[in-house]
Symmetry: C2
Subunit: 390 residues, 2 copies
Amino acid sequence: MGNMLIVHGGGPTAVMNSSLYGVIRAAKESGRVEHLYGAIGGTEAIFKENFVDLLAFSEEKLSLLLSTPASAIGSSRYPLEERDYKQMPEIFRKHRIEYVLLNGGNGTMDACGHIYRTCQEMGVKVLGIPKTIDNDIALTDHAPGYGSAARYIAATVHEIAQDVRALPIHVCVVEAMGRNAGWIAAASALARTQTDTAPDLIYLPERVFREEEFLRDVQNVYDRKGYVVVVASEGLADERGNSIVEPIYQTDRAVYYGDVSSHLAMLVIKKLGIKARSEKPGIAGRASIPWQSAVDREEAVHVGEFAVQSILAGENGKMVALVRKEALWYDIEYILVPVEQVMLFERKMPDEYINEKGNDVTDAFVKWCRPLTGEALPEFLNFRDYLDQK
Amino acid sequence: MGNMLIVHGGGPTAVMNSSLYGVIRAAKESGRVEHLYGAIGGTEAIFKENFVDLLAFSEEKLSLLLSTPASAIGSSRYPLEERDYKQMPEIFRKHRIEYVLLNGGNGTMDACGHIYRTCQEMGVKVLGIPKTIDNDIALTDHAPGYGSAARYIAATVHEIAQDVRALPIHVCVVEAMGRNAGWIAAASALARTQTDTAPDLIYLPERVFREEEFLRDVQNVYDRKGYVVVVASEGLADERGNSIVEPIYQTDRAVYYGDVSSHLAMLVIKKLGIKARSEKPGIAGRASIPWQSAVDREEAVHVGEFAVQSILAGENGKMVALVRKEALWYDIEYILVPVEQVMLFERKMPDEYINEKGNDVTDAFVKWCRPLTGEALPEFLNFRDYLDQK
């Protein structure tokens, strides 16, 4: 019986703990894992040897993982260096760790590849579990975490649209996470109903943002409907690739920008003279349990289980990936891909998912996205729909 | 059989439609209302005679109101003037409207008083239904809408705190609605658990905001815990009563400020050199159905029913109010108060609900607030709690 180590990296999701639940369950069921160590605090915890044995908890306690947001073992963005990797074999040997699982996004898969190479000689096996709200991991149809972030933005825009329509606030700009890829902002399209087109406009970082076109778009919708719901990615940039928001403050390590949503709302007020406001749920959108997608949660659990089964079967240097089967209904196959092929790519929205004007998504995107977000959003009653029919 | 008119005013809540449901149900059950007109679009709809008969809908359809955010008959912030009130008697006569219900906050209760006086001679009865997320209506223990806004901020901060603790982001500032009264920001205190003190700091508009004290508070918590969750009211002001955020833009009618939350996050970065970010759920916080408080929803329904029963019994010029009974358990009595006494006051947090330093609430507030927010928040599992015990 060997020991297993599970490490979380990067920003959390609403179902990262569901994958952890799957890992713990499969490790228990295998009967081949003596201690399953959770590294408490991401990759840094490996060097600090901050480990908790996850097999010591009751099933009742562990089932809370399915409805606990973020990461129950912590995470980090610690940038591992060559000397860090070199320390690992000794630590693994000391704790008799034979299997290492890393759950994370592109950065974590990079670390996964490095650990795989460093530990290849000593026989420690390494496998990656994909996770990202941004859906920017290559070689997988999507990654656990995205479906819930997508459901959150769709459901929240659906609710906000009721509010905007009721009062009306005129123009409301909702900011979506995803700095380099527009997958989350795009998913807000699922908020649309038979009677309301909100979100009326969606701006993605895959397209150059042009102020005059944005203002024309907003004015057009406003003239037609009397109110406008805009969803904007936090990463919008101009033709030179610069953020549309001026940098507010710069430190040695980072530049800090204002919020894209409040910038756009202010533009509407100043340039069009139309009342506008902005909302930025931010990390609330990746930590929401009520808007967790049941499909996403189930897939997250299964990805964790599959990783344990695969690594115990001798697989090494791979990442679990999801493949959508060619079928009339939504069906997923779980496979393994070489982790070193994952590391290098950041997956953006393909052209066929973005409309020609660059201010909306296409039906093909909605068709692709819908199954990931779980059951249909709640139906609302608005008597205004009946007045219009009069 | 007379006709009844129901009008919504001001910003919506998560349970405004629940009160509407109560109004429709009681009107149906009374057998004394021929048509129950919903004014589609707030007080302005009265002059446009934009009415929909709410008794024409099936019970199945109507039950959607309990889970529809905002206002299913719309709302407005239209500032009624003397000439507007003078038009009303003729419109009421034309549509044989004998009963008028207005659901809203302080501004709407002011309108309620004016309509009451204008229509007193012609025998039309007028009654007010309280509603506000801000909880700033006088003469009532609380108003429907507040309990759900309180539950939303508590639950969202509870979820965000898991995220901040997992990564950690260091300092996260969450902005709460409520420009003049801190009731919503205060309710975030209900996010606290046995193992986590987040939100660590709460800043309310009832207290002067002092930058140097805020920075000292943040540094202290950061030194102790390694991360800080701050909740700040959108209405924070300095000792001269000016917003702590510089005005960005001014029109003839209004001044536009930046967001308090991003302002505070930037202060932390610039002055303390600690990484910080901000979240502003904004109107998402008053439109959330998953975080609707069951207690709030039930009270909202009952307030609507009680208003109909009271007006049909001949009551006039009153507002429904909630009185908390002196009992060991939470129990509410519904009474009527003169609407003209409500109009004049904006209810703020009393001193005994704010701690001495002005950076938190007291236990007395938590005790007062907890029953309004419905059932306990979900329990989360964090293995870090078990590492600390080692």
